[in-house]
């Protein structure tokens, strides 16, 4: 390369007279400029090579003198130099269900709203996720993730600033963000190991619990990973509601502990508590015939989440990931229907869990299985309702995905979904694609 440049310059110079003869003045001028440019770049290259040689040479002679200055990498310049990192996720799916997805529900649970259920039949465009992220100044960084839905709506998934300069292991977040409760709650849809969230997430948190408020986390200064966090928010996300008051409608507390076992195994486990207020939350539990017992709920909603994940990666081409979470929700308060108070001593305890395993069995192939189970319990209130029985919705999912690169994924998932209150199984086949372009994202554990 270094010897090539001068040769090229010589060639250009040798050809110069011929070019000047053949072409007009403009052409000659252009050629001269080009030759000048080549000459300069050759000189710059030669200088760079000399600098490199000097640096590479052992600096024994320079004993006692300060080490040589490192060559600074040249940053981009111009008005666009501070543009944030931008990444875009493109996704979509083909869905085939044996039952009409419009009558999908989770037996014994209030309808969570949001993005739950198997989705529409046939081809559908998924959410296109657009993320902008950058440091704001030496103290904060900011991020926006917007989802452009297949229904042509733009939704702000997350928009928050995060502290980068707090001392002693503290970090703070301000804005709208996925809550730190549980393991999967913070994971964006494109990074899920299955097409959809586990049933327990759909029934208990409406898919993902989103905070709009403030989060503070503290990481202990120990070799074992020990983290504590607390959040306060407006409660705008199921199972709480925003309400009309000035107060906080959703507060959380959580703790995570994690570490390694040997060279190949890592783990993390957590415990979280979510305390929310609901005010005229729409939707009630249905009876055995499927008709709702009440229309709205006002009161306290408290959820415990226990989570655990274990990863075993003995080589870059083999990895097993096992995770499970358990949630238990207690609600107490008033229920109403048709604008009248039905009872003021409503109490319900509901729970659910999932367990899943995903195995990378060949360099680009993963297979996974997941089992979901819920227990609706029976609500208690006076006068005691008729026709109530507890329901145990469950679902089994099998998944196979192929990842041609870090940025693309094709997936097939088959579910035996027994969530509906009539107890008839829905067989769901989904084929999904997820592609990422733009900035290289970094994923959390």
């Amino acid at each position: 390369m270094l010897s090539f440049r001068p040769v090229a310059v010589l060639f250009a110079l040798a050809l110069l007279p011929a070019v000047a003869e053949a072409a007009d003045d403009v052409g000659a001028l252009r050629a001269e400029l080009q030759a000048l440019k080549n000459d300069y770049s050759a000189r710059v290259d030669a200088l760079e090579a000399r600098i490199q040689q000097l640096e590479a040479a052992p600096a024994v002679a320079a004993a006692g003198s300060p080490p040589p200055e490192a060559p600074a990498t040249r940053p981009a310049s111009g008005a666009s130099a501070f543009n944030p990192a931008i990444s875009l996720i493109l996704g979509g799916s083909y869905t085939n269900t044996s039952r009409n997805p419009e009558d999908w529900n989770i037996a014994g649970f209030p309808p969570p709203g949001g993005e739950v259920g198997p989705g529409e039949r046939s081809f559908s465009l998924g959410e296109s996720e657009l993320t902008f992220a950058a440091s704001i100044d030496p103290y904060f960084s900011g991020q926006l993730t917007a989802a452009i839905t297949g229904e042509n709506e733009i939704e702000v998934e997350e928009a928050f600033v995060r502290t980068t300069a707090l001392p002693d292991g503290f970090t703070g977040k301000l804005g709208r963000f996925f809550s730190g409760v549980g393991y999967l709650n913070e994971v964006h849809a494109h990074a899920w190991d299955f097409v959809d969230q586990p049933l327990v997430y759909q029934a208990m948190l409406g898919g993902q619990f989103r905070q709009e408020g403030v989060q503070v986390k503290w990481l202990a200064p120990t070799d074992l990973f020990v983290e504590f966090g607390a959040e306060a928010g407006n409660g705008g996300s199921f199972p709480s509601t925003r309400g009309g008051g000035n107060g906080l409608n959703a507060t959380t507390l959580f703790a995570h502990v994690g570490g390694d076992v040997g060279d190949y195994t890592s783990w993390r486990t957590g415990l979280a508590w979510l305390d929310g207020n609901a005010e005229d939350r729409e939707g009630g539990i249905a009876d055995a015939e499927g008709s709702p017992l009440f229309e709205s709920f006002t009161g306290d909603t408290r959820t415990w989440v226990v989570d655990g994940v274990l990863k075993w990666a003995p080589s870059p081409r083999r990895e097993l990931k096992v995770q499970g979470e358990y949630m238990r929700r207690e609600e107490s308060g008033e229920i109403g229907g048709d604008g009248v108070l039905l009872a003021d001593d409503y109490r319900s305890t509901q729970s659910g869990w999932y367990l899943q395993g995903v195995y990378l069995f060949a360099p680009r192939w993963r297979v996974g299985a997941r089992y979901d189970s819920l227990d609706s319990g029976t609500p208690r209130y006076t006068p005691a309702p008729d026709g109530l029985r507890s329901a145990n919705p469950d679902r089994l999912s099998l998944m196979l995905d192929w990842n041609p690169s870090e940025f693309s994924r094709l997936r097939a998932q088959y579910d035996w979904d027994d969530a509906r209150d009539d107890g008839e199984v829905d067989r769901v086949l989904r084929l999904q694609y997820i592609y990422g372009i733009g900035a290289h994202g970094a994923h959390k554990y």
């Binding site: 590479a56 052992p58 024994v60 490192a70 990481l219 070799d223 570490g259 890592s266 870090e406 994923h443």
Partner: protein, 299 residues
């Protein structure tokens, strides 16, 4: 005499300073871990985030690493986006303002080096390319020497009171390393110009340093595993002018290299790639001793 003075200095240092005062360093690869130990000696407490048997592109921001990042005084990374998939998360989750990029406790080896293979166009259709150039810099010992200088300066900046200690160790390493480079270059002279097939672009610096003639790469594009038809074409192309060696790293899948080896009748050599990649590669010196020994033995 020299040793007894050093011992005296160490005893003094140990007496004056509390035992836990060592600088906590989180190194992303075993090579930077080893280099930090060479220069930092007793003054540094090094934790290495990866092993030679892992692919540094694909490491997870494990809880244990977040915990180490929390208490680190210094992060020693390769940079040039080699660790882009996990180090930013680690630093972000650590809640440690000392190691944020741009802060005093953040060091990138690549920023001290001129990288090979800086792409002129950036398009992911070209595979896993790195916008700032090839980040697998450790297999050229001249790069190690340059990074050693920059790292000495960084450690000194973090602990100005220990400047003499770091300068002495830095110079000592420098001298030993310069001798070793001379030894390796003389020993590896017969390898110059040998035709080799490489696995991934992470062997580019080794080839560049030793003057090996890269005739093909088992990966059709960086990070893209070979297809059967591509390997077939490779065999056709290499049969008339077979390579002398096929190089692969300890962490690579040996299958495609062995398959090719059997067809083009050239031995596949497993190189340590990083400190800890073979039993002999216990430190940086061992890494290069073993790499050159393995190359010469297979030739």
């Amino acid at each position: 005499m020299k040793n007894s003075i050093r011992l005296l200095v160490l005893l003094l240092v140990a007496g004056v300073l509390p035992a836990h005062a060592a600088l906590k360093v989180l190194a992303t690869t075993p090579d930077w871990g080893a280099l930090t130990r060479e220069i930092g000696g007793e003054r540094v407490d090094v934790y290495v985030a990866t092993t030679a048997l892992q692919d540094v592109h694909r490491v997870e921001a494990r809880p244990s690493l977040v915990a180490r990042a929390r208490s680190a005084d210094l992060v020693v990374a390769t940079g040039a986006e080699l660790e882009v998939g996990w180090l930013p998360v680690l630093i972000q989750e650590s809640g440690n303002s000392r190691i944020q990029p741009g802060a005093a406790g953040y060091f990138e080896a690549a920023s001290a080096l001129k990288l090979l293979e800086v792409p002129t166009t950036l398009d992911r259709a070209m595979g896993d390319i790195h916008p700032h150039g090839n980040p697998h810099v450790q297999l050229d010992p001249h790069n190690i020497a340059t990074v050693a200088h920059a790292l000495t300066a960084k450690l000194t900046a973090l602990e100005p009171a220990q400047a003499a200690y770091y300068a002495a160790r830095g110079q000592d390493f420098d001298a030993r390393w310069a001798d070793a480079i001379k030894r390796w270059e003389a020993k590896a002279e017969p390898l110059k110009g040998e035709r080799v097939v490489i696995m991934h672009r992470d062997q580019a610096y080794l080839c560049h340093w030793l003057g090996l003639n890269e005739v093909a790469s088992i990966e059709p594009k960086p990070g893209v595993p070979p297809t059967a038809s591509y390997l077939g074409q490779l065999v056709t192309r290499l049969t008339s002018t077979p390579p002398r060696l096929i190089l692969l790293n300890a962490y690579n899948d040996a299958k495609p290299a062995n398959w090719l080896s059997a067809r083009v009748h050239a031995p596949a050599v497993v190189l340590p790639f990083s400190v800890g990649g073979s039993p002999e590669a216990k430190d940086l010196f061992g890494l290069f001793d073993d790499t050159i020994d393995k190359l010469l033995a297979a030739k």
